[in-house]
C-alpha cells in the first residue's frame, strides 16, 4: 500500500506532494484504528492524484539541456505517433515471406512493452486530461478525444482477447473492428485539432510547419487506410481463390498462389516501410525544428497522449494480426523495433518531463490567456 501511496503522491503537483504523501501514509498506517482499510486509503490517494487540481506554477528559466530534451521529445513523439497511426491495418503476411528470428525478438520485446503501456495508457491519458484544466476549449477537446481513443483501443484489445478465447465462429468481429476504427477516428480528429491550433499561430513559419505537420498526419493515416483496403482485399481475394484451387486438387497451382500472395504482401509491406519511414523522419524534423514558443505550448502534452495511443494501437495491431506463423523481413522487424523503442523513449522523456507552467495575462488588452505546458521552458 505504501508503494501505491508514494506513486500517487508522485503524480501530484510539487507543492502538494510532500504534504499528501505524509498524510496518506499516516492514514494508511492508522486506518484500522479508524475502522477503515489501508487499501481504501491507497485507492483514494490514486483517485485524488488523478483528479487533483493542478495550480499554475510560475515559469522558471529554462536551460539548454531542457530545451534540447523538449525538442528531442517532440521529435520522437510525433514520429512515434506517425508510426503508430500508420500501422493501423498493416497486416502480417501469409506464407512466403522470409522468416526471421529477429521477428521473434521483436515480438517478445514489443509485446512486453506494449502490454505495460496498455495498462499505463489510460492512467496517463486521464492524468494528462486533468492537466489541461484552464487551457483553451479546443485544446481540451483534442485531449479528451485522444484520451477516449486510448480507451477505445484498449477495449478493442479486450474484445480481441475475448474472441481468441471464444469458440470458433465468435461473432465479435464487427465489435472488434468498430472498437479499432473508433480510436483511429478519434485520434485523427484530436490530431487535426492539435495541428489546426498549431497552424493558427500568427507567425508565417509556424503556419507552414503546422500545415506540413497536418500533411504528414493525413498522409500517414491515408497510408494506413490504404493498406487496409488494398492489402486486405488482395489477401481476401487471394485466400478465396487459394481455397478453391486446393479443393480442385491443383496443389502446384496452390503453391504458386501462396508464393505470389506472399510476395505481394511483402511488396506492400516494404512500400509501407519506406514511405512510413519517410513520413516518420519528416515528422521528426518538423517537431525538432519547432519554434521555441511552440515548444512551450500544450502540444507537448498532446503529443505525449498521441504516443500513448500509438503504443496501444500498435499492440492491438500486433495482437490482431501478428502471432505464430507471421514473418517479417529484417528491415521491417527493425523498423517496428525502432518504432516501439521510440514510444518507450518518448514516454520516459515527454510524459516524465511535462508540467503545466505559468499563465500569461495581458491585462488591459482583452487578449486571451496563454495557458502553457512545458518541460520547464520559458515561454516569453
Amino acid at each position: 500500500m505504501n508503494l501505491i501511496i508514494r506513486a500517487a503522491a508522485r503524480m501530484l503537483p510539487a507543492p502538494m506532494r510532500d504534504r499528501y504523501r505524509e498524510q496518506w501514509l499516516a492514514d494508511a498506517r492508522d486506518a484500522a484504528e479508524a475502522g477503515l482499510s489501508p487499501a481504501s486509503i491507497a485507492l483514494a490517494a490514486v483517485t485524488f492524484a488523478l483528479a487533483a487540481p493542478r495550480p499554475i506554477e510560475r515559469r522558471r528559466q529554462d536551460s539548454p539541456s531542457v530545451t534540447a530534451r523538449a525538442r528531442l521529445a517532440s521529435a520522437l513523439a510525433l514520429s512515434a505517433a506517425v508510426i503508430g497511426v500508420s500501422q493501423f491495418g498493416n497486416a502480417g503476411s501469409n506464407e512466403g515471406l522470409t522468416s526471421s528470428s529477429v521477428y521473434n525478438v521483436v515480438v517478445v520485446i514489443g509485446t512486453a512493452v506494449m502490454v505495460l503501456y496498455l495498462g499505463l495508457a489510460p492512467i496517463v491519458a486521464i492524468v494528462l486530461v486533468s492537466v489541461t484544466r484552464g487551457t483553451p476549449a479546443r485544446i481540451r477537446a483534442a485531449v479528451w478525444l485522444l484520451a477516449a481513443s486510448v480507451l477505445g483501443a484498449a477495449s478493442q484489445g479486450l474484445i480481441n482477447s475475448i474472441r481468441s478465447s471464444s469458440p470458433v465462429g465468435s461473432t465479435l468481429l464487427a465489435e472488434a473492428a468498430l472498437a479499432l476504427a473508433l480510436p483511429v477516428a478519434l485520434c485523427a480528429t484530436g490530431g487535426a485539432l492539435i495541428i489546426r491550433e498549431y497552424a493558427s499561430q500568427p507567425q508565417p513559419r509556424s503556419r507552414l510547419r503546422g500545415m506540413m505537420s497536418l500533411g504528414v498526419g493525413v498522409a500517414a493515416l491515408g497510408l494506413g487506410l490504404a493498406n487496409v483496403v488494398v492489402l486486405r482485399d488482395r489477401l481476401h481475394a487471394a485466400d478465396v481463390e487459394f481455397v478453391r484451387t486446393v479443393l480442385d486438387g491443383d496443389l502446384d497451382g496452390a503453391a504458386a498462389m501462396l508464393a505470389q500472395s506472399g510476395q505481394a504482401t511483402e511488396a506492400a509491406v516494404v512500400v509501407w516501410a519506406v514511405v512510413g519511414l519517410a513520413a516518420c523522419l519528416g515528422a521528426a524534423w518538423i517537431a525538432y525544428t519547432l519554434p521555441r514558443r511552440a515548444l512551450a505550448s500544450t502540444l507537448a502534452l498532446l503529443f505525449a497522449l498521441m504516443i500513448m495511443h500509438a503504443g496501444v494501437l500498435t499492440y492491438v495491431w500486433l495482437s490482431s494480426f501478428g502471432g505464430p506463423g507471421v514473418h517479417l523481413t529484417v528491415p521491417e522487424a527493425v523498423l517496428l523495433l525502432v518504432g516501439r523503442w521510440g514510444l518507450v523513449a518518448v514516454v520516459l522523456v515527454s510524459v516524465g518531463g511535462v508540467r503545466l507552467t505559468g499563465v500569461r495575462r495581458l491585462s488591459g488588452t482583452g487578449r486571451r490567456h496563454d495557458i502553457t505546458a512545458t518541460t520547464g521552458t520559458e515561454v516569453l
Binding site: 499516516a26 481504501s40 483514494a44 485524488f48 483528479a51
Partner: protein
C-alpha cells in the same frame, strides 16, 4: 474565504462532521464519521481548505513516530458558512420530500 462552486450531499456530510467537532478533527475520523468513501472526502477537504472554509495542521504527538496525522478545523467564517449551507441543504431536501 471563497464560496464553494458546488455543494454536494457528500460535502454536507463532511461539513456536518466538522461542525459538530469541538476542535481539530483527524482527517480519517472525518471520513469515518461522514460515512463517505475516502476517495470522496479527500477532494472535499482539499476544496474546503483551498476555499478557506477549513484549515489543516499536523498533529503534535511526541510519542508517535513516523508520518504525522493531518487534522482539519473549520475557520470562524467557514463555520458560519457551513451551518448556513447545511441548513439550506436540509431545507431544500425537506421541500422536495413534501412536494
Amino acid at each position: 474565504m471563497k464560496p464553494l462552486s458546488r455543494i454536494t450531499p457528500a460535502t454536507i456530510d463532511v461539513l456536518s462532521v466538522l461542525t459538530v467537532s469541538a476542535g481539530p478533527t483527524w482527517g480519517l475520523a472525518v471520513i469515518k464519521q461522514s460515512g463517505r468513501p475516502a476517495g470522496s472526502v479527500y477532494p472535499i477537504l482539499e476544496r474546503l481548505e483551498t476555499s478557506g472554509w477549513v484549515t489543516s495542521s499536523w498533529e503534535h504527538d511526541d510519542e508517535r513516530t513516523g508520518p504525522r496525522r493531518r487534522f482539519y478545523e473549520l475557520t470562524a467564517e467557514g463555520a458560519t458558512a457551513a451551518r448556513s449551507a447545511i441548513a439550506g441543504f436540509r431545507a431544500r431536501a425537506t421541500t422536495v420530500v413534501t412536494a
